[in-house]
Amino acid sequence: MIPTAIETHQLTRVFGNQTAVDSVDLKVACGTFYGFLGQNGAGKSTTIKMLTGLLSPTAGTVSVLGCNMLDHTQSLEAKKQIGVIPENLALFDNLTAIEYLIFIGRIHGLERETIRDRSDEMLHLLSLERETKKLVLEYSHGMRKKLSLAAALLPNPKLLFLDEPFEGVDAVASVTIRDLLSSFVAKGSTVFLTSHVLEIVERLCTHVGIIQSGKLIHQSSMDELHQSGTLEQCFLQATGAYKNQVAKLEWLEQK
């Protein structure tokens, strides 16, 4: 039994003279739907990259599903059980959707028939089934996001890392994805997601972490958070922005 899905200790990443992620101690239990929030440039994507083995940390430790991600052999074990939508996706321009999914499925050791069935179902669900002849090159932004999600779900992972999965996705697909993810967590899997849409996070997530300038400034369950107000209030308060401070540009009002 794995006690925690994700655990980091003093996780730090420095770019040049800027500390993008600063001594973050994350702890995400299995079966949680974790929302990771923060302003632009706060360090969300950098954290996800380090958690999924796309970026090496400057300092600190990362353990995912009990595997040390800094050790190559162990990280391969973890990678077998996780699905990821990275910040800039991981698609091959010159493949079609179905070819890409088959590739991902085979890499994860799935049977041919299983891959076919699952990808047909998923492409249908995400209304991509008409686009199977197109190369990824010709896909729109939202279509790419959806294909990425399909690839992340295909091996039926224990843990999902989603970097802004709803960004650029149409409203219909958005609802579908939300339902998918809810049922995914309900059967015991874990989702780690970043998003700027607070309503979605509020509706879906069971736990929230807020990062500000690389530092984890808030980490609690949604229930605890709701005792002191809505997610938006909490977020604005934690990040030090206030609702009553109305932005003003004098010259914009001149006409």
């Binding site: 190559h72 085979r106 002849k133």
Partner: protein, 682 residues
């Protein structure tokens, strides 16, 4: 209310915007420099300085050439220099355009059209910035130097060359710009893009073969005409010899020498002949007279005959030169790229050709720019031309919801059919099969990769002309070695692609990093996927060269096996290059687009190991050659062939042995690699 801005004229507006865009490009360069490492900075500074210096050097060299050349060669050959310069430039230009075919717009319209820039201004800016490139600047530096130098040696009239030269530059760049626009429009459709990418190398082959093709044709014609005339002459001589002569033996001699001469002449052009005939007849007459009068003995006669032959040969050479110069004269008037040389000629000769030639070039430039402008305008307004519209229609029927029934049906039938990406390959694991299949599929779709794989096939074609004039000693080992050498050359060219193979996947490489498979399997899969292409190259090369020179079967086989045995160490080498010295590429381009030169230099240095590998592969052939030479009785044993098999097996074992190590190297470098290949470029 802010006051309305004073209306700017088109030119001043364009100029301010152009300044802004020059500044923009400059800033981008500087910022790239700032982010690169210390050595990278130093290297690029060196490169920049050396480029500036080489421009100065070119300018000076051009001037010196301009001063010296007209004094060394006769005035009527002066234009030949221009022919040579422009031909060389056109060839380089062709390759330059081909390698950058997909990156047409230096600053794309998409990025500026939402700004308050008039379309015509954007067009002008784009065209002007397309002028800033290495081949063109080098040509300008050298040519202006040459014109300047010529003005000292020939006189100020040489300064007039500038006018047609500038017009020529505008014309060729306008045509290129139009061609690129046209290709970009074509390639908006991926299926056509394939075709275009294949057509481009073929066009280069064809264009580079054109001059030698013409030369061959002319030479053939000359030979034919000569033969005909030679026959006529022989007939005449026989008729003449039938008439009674005072001194029959001498006639026989002269007749023989005449026919010898005719033989020599048979491959030479016609102008020479009249002169030579006339001259030879005169001499023969003199010698005849001398012989008859007993003033010359037979020894002196041979001496005279030899001297005579020498004079004849010299005259022939001069006549051939005159003939070709005459042909070039015509070509300079008829063949547009050479018009600039025609203009130079005409200015020097004081004829009026220069006027219409320059006018025609200006007209081409004007029409091309105008057409291009209209096309681009239409394209961006969304009014595509009828052909593009039909492409669009084709595509849209595919995506048409009403056609979805048909698509579902094909999807159903496709269910049973095994796709290439699902194929399992023998003797490798499932994951490796997946990598091979995926790589094959995506590689054969990426036009720049395909171009790279086709590029080596140009080598034998471009060298075809040279091969024709080669006379090899009848040593089979040497021929086999040539096959291997050419294969190695091809591999060397391909190492530019395979030595940076992860950069072509860009974001796709992230999928590899995220994948839970052993890293040496990734490498193995990628190597095996390229294997068929590389082996096909080798085989074609061996066949072409083997057919050309005629090679014994065992040596042919040996050459193929030995060439194949370069592949494992070659793969090992390119893997190391791809892991250690990657550099980012812009989509659809095979030119590195970043100023960080360290990896480019390093990968070049690594690729220098290629000749060493080739040398090792050549050892069995060398051994057989030596044994054959010193121990005659071994000649019947195909030693090289027998050795080539263990050679191949040995290299395969080396590959197996080193690959896991390379896998570990990839595992430890993959994050850094990912950062580099996905770093954004401009």
């Amino acid at each position: 209310m802010s006051p309305p801005q004073p209306p700017k004229t088109f030119l001043s507006g364009t100029f301010t915007h152009f300044q802004t865009f020059v500044w923009l490009r400059w800033r981008i360069r500087i910022n790239q420099l700032r982010s690169s490492s210390g050595i990278g900075k130093a290297l690029s500074a060196i490169l920049l300085v050396s480029f500036a210096m080489s421009c100065v050097v070119l300018l000076v060299a051009g001037s010196v050439m301009g001063i010296v050349l007209p004094r060394l060669v006769p005035r009527e050959y002066y234009f030949l220099f221009w022919d040579a310069l422009i031909s060389l430039f056109c060839f380089i230009w062709m390759i330059f355009v081909a390698t950058d075919v997909q990156r047409t717009d230096a600053i794309t319209f998409d990025r500026i059209l939402h700004l308050p820039v008039a379309f015509s201004q954007a067009f002008a800016i784009n065209y002007l910035s397309s002028l800033i490139n290495l081949p063109l600047i080098s040509l300008c530096a050298y040519s202006f130097g040459f014109i300047l130098g010529s003005s000292f040696s020939i006189g100020p009239i040489a300064l007039l060359f500038t006018v047609p030269f500038v017009v020529f530059l505008i014309a060729i760049t306008a045509l290129t710009y139009q061609l690129q626009g046209w290709l970009a429009a074509l390639m908006a459709n991926p299926k056509r893009r394939q075709l275009v990418m294949i057509a481009i190398p073929l066009c280069i082959i064809f264009a580079s073969q054109l001059p030698s093709f013409f030369a061959l044709r002319f030479a053939n014609e000359d030979a034919k005409r000569n033969r005909r005339e030679h026959e006529n002459r022989v007939a005449e001589t026989t008729r003449a010899s039938e008439q009674p002569t005072a001194n029959p033996p001498v006639v026989a001699t002269t007749e023989k020498s005449a026919s010898e001469k005719a033989d020599e002449l048979s491959v030479k052009p016609d102008i020479a002949k009249d002169a030579i005939d006339h001259d030879a007849k005169e001499r023969v007459d003199i010698v005849d007279a001398d012989l008859r009068s007993g003033e010359v003995d037979s020894e002196q006669l041979t001496a005279i005959q030899q001297a005579e032959k020498k004079v004849v040969r010299e005259r022939e050479r001069a006549a051939v030169t005159a003939l070709w110069v005459g042909r070039l004269h015509q070509a300079n008037l008829l063949f547009p790229p050479l018009w600039i040389a025609g203009c130079v000629e005409s200015i020097l000769a004081g004829t009026f050709h220069v006027l219409w030639l320059t006018g025609a070039m200006a007209l081409i430039a004007f029409i091309s720019l105008r057409r291009n402008y209209r096309q681009t305008l239409r394209y961006y307004k969304g009014e595509t031309d009828s052909r593009a519209a039909s492409i669009y229609r084709l595509n849209s029927t595919a995506a048409d919801p009403r056609a979805s029934g048909a698509i579902e049906a094909t999807a159903k039938s496709g269910r049973q059919r095994l796709l290439l990406v699902e194929r399992k390959f023998p003797m490798v694991s499932e994951e490796t099969s997946a990598i091979i299949a995926m790589t094959l599929k995506s590689m054969t779709r990426a036009p720049e990769v395909k171009l790279y794989l086709l590029l080596p096939l140009l080598v034998p074609f471009i060298l075809f002309g040279i091969l024709q004039s080669w006379k090899l000693p009848e040593i089979d080992e040497l021929k086999a070695a040539i096959v291997i050498g050419f294969s190695a050359c091809c591999l060397f060219i391909t190492s530019g692609l395979l030595g940076n193979v992860f950069a072509y996947d860009r974001a796709g490489f992230r999928a590899f990093v995220l994948s839970p498979i052993r890293r040496d399997r990734i490498l193995l899969g990628r190597n095996l996927a390229t294997f068929p292409f590389l082996f096909l190259q080798t085989l074609l090369m061996a066949l072409a060269i083997g057919l050309f020179f005629g090679i014994s079967f065992d040596k042919f086989l040996c050459a193929v096996i030995l060439s194949a045995s370069i592949l494992p160490p070659f793969s090992l080498l390119t893997n190391v290059m791809a892991i250690l010295t990657p550099f980012p590429l812009a989509a659809g381009s095979i030119q590195p687009k970043q100023f960080n030169l360290v990896p480019i230099f390093c990968s070049f240095a690594l690729s220098m190991l290629m000749p060493v590998m080739t040398g090792i592969v050549l050892l069995p052939l060398g051994l057989e050659w030596i044994l054959d030479r010193f121990f005659k009785n071994t000649a019947f044993v195909p030693i090289a062939l027998l050795l080539s098999v263990p050679w191949l097996i040995g290299f395969l074992f080396l590959y197996r042995w080193l690959l896991p190590w390379e896998g570990k190297l990839l595992a430890s470098r993959e994050k850094e690699l990912l950062r580099i290949v996905t770093s954004k470029i401009e």
